[in-house]
């Protein structure tokens, strides 16, 4: 059974003046342990899809299933990583990471150990008592990653988490995410507008059309793991990148009415 199942999902945002159809007839299933990336032009409804999986917004029609159960409210089993980090500025790194276990009633001692392990895993041990405001963007996103993982989510939802980072930090973060995924078998649903990012991370890449967002194509990425940055120089990589790029380009042009 699929871990996540989007079944013919549509979303229309209605305001007093206009209705905007963000997503139309979107179907996709994600198996346990898979890393699936959704790529598409900006404004194509990627984030809307993710927000529906997380239960932040309800589909206008169609259903989202998590382990066969329809998602009807904010779903803690779907851990979210936001582009804007969304760390609590008044909590230290440690307290941020402990937030999920704390509200879920995990004992003080257990959550302390949990936080220590995750913070160590991303190399922030020296910053456990710092506030997010004292950290760089890359460090903040690492804390956000820890915070999501400490809650042991069934699936990690990533909403362009590295988009605000500089190119170098971004590569480091991608590697870090890859390491975590390969070690723990974490299921990931990742959104990005970077084809390179999608290719380096994913088992499957889903290309989304311009608004209203639909599934345009799905590619299995068979590049060997563990993937290092130099995979980008192989013919196989370039071939698939070219294919996806052509598709995305069409959609970008469509969305710009060119």
């Amino acid at each position: 059974m699929a871990l996540i199942q989007l079944d013919n999902v549509s979303k229309v945002f209605s305001s007093r003046k206009v209705d905007v159809e963000a997503v139309r007839g979107f179907s996709l299933s994600i198996r346990k342990g898979e890393v699936v990336t959704l790529v598409g032009a900006s404004g194509c409804g990627k984030t809307t899809v993710l927000n529906m999986v997380a239960g932040f917004i309800a589909p206008t029609s169609g259903k989202v299933f998590l382990e066969g159960e329809p998602v009807s409210r904010v779903e803690p089993r779907c851990g979210m990583i936001f582009q804007s980090y969304a760390l609590f500025p008044w909590l230290t790194v440690r307290e941020n990471v402990e937030f999920g276990p704390k509200v879920n009633g995990i004992s003080r001692k257990t959550r302390k150990d949990l936080a220590r392990n995750y913070i160590e895993m991303v190399g922030l041990t020296g910053f456990a008592d710092s506030y997010p405001g004292e950290l760089s963007g890359g460090m903040r996103q690492r804390v956000a990653l820890c915070r999501a993982l400490a809650n042991k989510p069934d699936i990690l939802l990533c909403d362009e988490p590295f988009a605000a980072l500089d190119a170098m930090t971004r590569q480091v973060m991608q590697q870090e995410l890859l390491n975590i995924v390969s070690r723990s078998g974490q299921t990931v649903f990742f959104i990005t507008h970077s084809i390179d990012e999608a290719l380096i991370l994913s088992d499957r890449v889903v290309v989304m059309s311009a608004r209203p967002g639909q599934v345009k194509a799905v590619y299995d990425i068979d590049l060997s793991r563990p993937r290092k940055i130099d995979v980008q120089l192989t013919d196989e990589y370039l071939k698939i990148k070219r294919k996806i790029w052509d598709l995305v380009e069409e959609e970008v042009k469509a969305s710009m009415n060119m």
Binding site: F56, P76, P89, W90, L91, V103, E134, N151
Partner: protein, 262 residues
Amino acid sequence: MEDTDLTFWRAAVYGSLGLICFLGLWEISIRLHLVDPFFLPPPSQIITRAIRMTTGTDAVLLSDIRISASRVLTGFFLSVLAGVPFGLVMGVSSVVRATLNPIISIIRPLPALSWIPLSMLWLGIDEQQKYAIVFMGCFASILVYTTDATMRVDPVLRRAARNLGASDFQVLRYVILPGALPDLLSGLKVVLAIAWTCVISAEMVGANSGLGFRIWTAKEWSDTGQVLVGMISISVTVLILDIAFRGLERLLLPWQRKVSGT
């Protein structure tokens, strides 16, 4: 030339200079008979007057300060106790907000002074009446400041908390409240000043103790010295409370200090 911030000590030096010049001009203008000391006593005379009012047989100044300050703080705490929880709920629930808004819109523009007649009829001129005046002067403002502060908390943080499994109450307690605290505290600082206005006014109209009462009786005797001692006492007390409040802010918001310090 670009204007840069001064260090604490340099600012203190300039500040003292300004103050000394101001007091000097004041004193000199009276010594040179430019101003009648009956209308405006010189600083030297005010100081001796203040000393007499704190040490002499009729040493009422300190107890007046204590009485006024305790009226201010009691009334203020009561309105915080009532206003903050209400404001939080209004901030998170548009239904509650819509329900209460008209009532608050009617109460809020009323100056605290306009409550004096009713409150005296209901409660006389004892302590409860002073607390009531402060409460009426502060409650609606605290409500509005709290509601605004609550609504300014980044919605993505609420989302993040719920995504991590927080219940509605936990979101309120662990996200909305700490997130609103910086704005809330700066709002409360403004309201604390309002509370002083309320108490002084109430004491002038009906009381037999407190700084407002002392100033008002001095006026009956054309005792300008005592009027000025009373006024300066208000300034000094408010300043001290303000410093205490800032200390409280630093204590409650360690993360803000750290961030601005780097």
